[in-house]
Amino acid sequence: MTEHAEARAGAPNADVAAYAIRLGDDALILSQRLSEWTARSPEIEEDVALLNIALDLLGQARALLSYGGGFSGKSEDDLAYLREERSFTNVQLAELENGDFAVTMVRQLLFSAYQYELYRVLAGSTDAQLAAIAAKAIKEVAYHVEHSRTWVLRLGDGTQLSRERSQAALDAVWPFVHELFEDDALAERIAEHGVGPLPSALRDGWQATVLPVLAEATLTVPEDGWQPSGGRTGLHAQGFGYLLAELQHLHRSHPGASW
């Protein structure tokens, strides 16, 4: 991996580290959620697909957490396995429980389209390592968008039941998209130094991907009402503790375990 002390147009190391960990947490936590589908998918090809997406996200998480942690001498394992719930800074969309298959696919479409916009800008980052990670990851994410798009179309514009469940999924997941585009002090400093995009600036591109898919899937975009937030400051929903327990149990019970 690249050296840490490179010039990035003056952005403080602590900011770059926190930013990389933020994005790494998004990828790690959604990867963990998706892996819960192992052996439970509606068909074997889908099992393979969801786990491939989970693996891509895990790879992105490893690169981002290794980089972010490296500024303070922490490894990817230290960050993934040894932090408490309130130290994780992923958006709540990433940790949402899988629900039925429609919820998982709607969540994937909304999140992957966001990651696509994010990585597109990040690939031109003033930070060379973040640019490299993003340039690699965006190719993977393009496949995630395409895969979830295909399913949202098939289920939304499908049978009456699949349409009802897809609409219910969209209604349930939609409130969590607003947090993706929230600016805060860190995001503003990161954008100021050309390290990453301002989250609010990603919304138009995201909508240009997502809205036509939802329309073609005959789904109705919900009104913007409740806008849960707080993931970036360590606030998470009840299910997050259970997710962490499963993620961290082995490592904490058997420190240093490896194979």
Partner: protein, 171 residues
Amino acid sequence: MNDSPKDVVSDVLGVLHQLREVAADVPDPEIPVLTIADLGILREVRQGQDGHAEVVITPTYSGCPATEAIKADVLARTAAVDPAARVVIELAPAWTTDWITETGRRKLAEYGIAPPQPTRTVGLQLGRRIVSCPRCGSGDTEELSRFGSTPCKALRRCRACAEPFDEFKSL
């Protein structure tokens, strides 16, 4: 030692050349018919800033578990040439299937995996594509799953000969 500077330079180049040769032959753990040189993930063999040789590889996918195995396999072979040689993993520039060599493409097809199509500029790929069956050559094939047995492959079926086959995804 009475080596002239010229001899030292040619010695270093000779070692780097040998390192490249042994590293290039390392098979991909998932698709052993391909070497890492065929795949285009062996990027460079160079002298590092501290004078030690570095073999530079780049991962195919961010999360590809084969990367660790490849690193170990490369080190096992380079140790015989230069025990101090290192393997360095670099992400940039990002690997693309366009770097798979012509030999690599031929080997893939012979192995029963449809070679990747040329990539376009990065963008969402929403169109239809024609992928020929590596067994019978028919273009009448369908995608069963965008994601196959490894991150780099999709699963397809030939409508003409009815055989399923893997396709190396364009990346």
